[in-house]
């Protein structure tokens, strides 16, 4: 069953001069078992949208359907704790939220909090460490002494240790180096393809959306402007340009080449394929 928003609005500070409508009558379905990118300008409602998925924010109006549950405006959600175990939410810059003395303790905190024994929690934490590529040598280190990229992995492992069915990540690669970004995105890809987890990623990085995501939701001024599959979205630059988004390098290059009289087929989806097509055209003429 897909995740669904039905006429969801969210208003911050309602009834005060700071009233702000962050989501306005949002009806939207998000596919289960896929990687969906949620994109849009700062302030378009992306973060507000995803924070409804584990009832961290409750709708001011409308309802959210997720994993056979309904989160409705005006009523306290039931079994909140188990929902939060099933829907893991990783905030922007989660490394600022690490607090335990050791990496292992920090990661085990979640499962322990959900009533798992100390031993079992440590086991889950070790599995999660392995998933994010942190070796056993990190177990006893202080999370506060790690590099930015390592801290980020500890924070994500803390969520993975609870083995959520849905993983929601708010800008998971912001501030990481290219290598760290790559590792992080391929981790999410693996979690999706191998463990069937539903993954939602709020991001500004179109290169990552193009390479790793299945679907795209574009938010604009508190409303979903567009929902489509990645292939359609990046067929050429036109949709991106319309939305004021810088398309991935490959798409920009394909368009530039076409404008200059080269033939580039739609199937070309990486630099090797592009080189192959171009080589043929240049050589054929030669």
């Amino acid at each position: 069953m897909p995740i669904a928003f039905e006429h969801v609005s969210h208003i911050y500070n309602d009834g005060t001069p700071y009233r702000h409508v962050a989501l306005e009558d949002v009806s939207l379905e998000l596919a289960e078992g896929k990687i969906t990118a949620i994109i849009g300008q700062t302030g378009s409602g992306k973060s507000t949208l995803v924070q409804h998925l584990n009832a961290l924010l409750l709708p001011s109006a409308g309802k959210v359907l997720i994993l056979d549950r309904t989160i409705e405006a005006g009523s306290q959600p039931k079994q909140l704790k188990s929902l939060r175990g099933q829907v893991g939410l990783v905030f922007q810059f989660p490394e600022y939220q690490l607090f335990e003395e050791t990496v292992l303790k920090d990661i085990a905190f979640g499962p322990k909090n959900f009533g798992v024994s100390e031993e079992e929690a440590a086991k889950k934490a070790r599995t999660a460490m392995q998933m994010v590529g942190l070796g056993p040598e990190f177990e006893e280190r202080s999370p506060l002494e790690l590099s930015g990229g390592q801290k980020r992995r500890v924070a994500i492992a803390g969520i993975l240790a609870m083995d959520p069915a849905v993983l929601v990540l708010d800008e998971p690669t912001a501030g990481l180096d290219p290598q760290g970004t790559e590792q992080m995105m391929s981790l999410f890809h693996r979690l999706n393809r191998e463990s069937g987890k539903t993954i939602l990623i709020v991001t500004h990085d179109m290169e990552q959306v193009y390479r790793y995501c299945d679907e795209v939701v574009v938010m604009e001024q508190g409303k979903p402007k567009l929902r489509t599959d990645v292939q359609t979205f990046f067929h050429d630059s036109s949709l991106c340009r319309e939305l004021n988004i810088l398309p991935p390098a490959l798409i920009r290059m394909k368009d530039m080449l076409r404008e200059n009289g080269f033939t580039v087929s739609d199937e070309v989806s990486d630099v090797n394929m592009l080189a192959k097509e171009l080589a043929r055209q240049v050589k054929r003429h030669g």
Binding site: G149, D177, M256
Partner: protein, 275 residues
Amino acid sequence: MALIEVKDLCFAYEGDNLAVDHVSFSVPEGQYVTIIGHNGSGKSTVAKLLAGLLEKKSGSIVIDGLELNQKNLHQLRSRIGIVFQNPDNQFIGSTVRDDIAFGLENHCVPQEQMDDIINAFSARVGMSEFLDKEPTHLSGGQKQRVAIAGVLAMAPKILIFDEATSMLDPQGKDEIKRVIMDLHRKSGLTILSITHDIDEVTSSDSVLVLADGKVALTGTPAEVFSQEKMLKKIRLDIPFSLKLADELNKRGVSVNRELTMEGLVKELCRLHSNM
């Protein structure tokens, strides 16, 4: 003589584990240098050593002909401004005006001069219209521009950007990159920018590549990006146009390794029509 001369610089956060390991480089006055390297390569540590925020273990840093040491620290610090990564950690004032004034007050700039300075530098970063705004009403890019104005108001000779764009959205990134380019072209400031942004690297005068606390490569962007094997080894990215040029060369199409897509398309068009 170079404005910044770093020789055999070493630093360790604890024990003998060198975070900066015998780093040497020099920066001529007026250059725009980008510093790249993976997370944990020592980039930020080098920046903090240069700004006198950390004390070196050994080696030397000479700035503007003066050795950076306890004695000269105060004098040299006024010549170096640093802008950090997180826009929210750098805003001290309750308004844009107050924030820029903060540094001036600390330097005992007379009140009657302050307004002129604030007006001049807020204009320099395009924030004149926002002088009475509070930080909560500013975007990340705007806050970073205020941070830059505050640093410029101190009249430094050297500006260091420590991943100043990495926490910003694409629009904010563009704003800051434009401001940096503009400062470089028009004010003759010497700029050191730590970045992961390939486009920014491409537009700088020279590049310093750090890996595991050591200098892995230095040179112009073209020189550095030509060291493909080395870059791959330390797992750094190269511009898309270079990746494509390399793939074409592998397939027997000889094209220049152009740093921009526009350049490469021109190359290809030339080949296309010459045949």
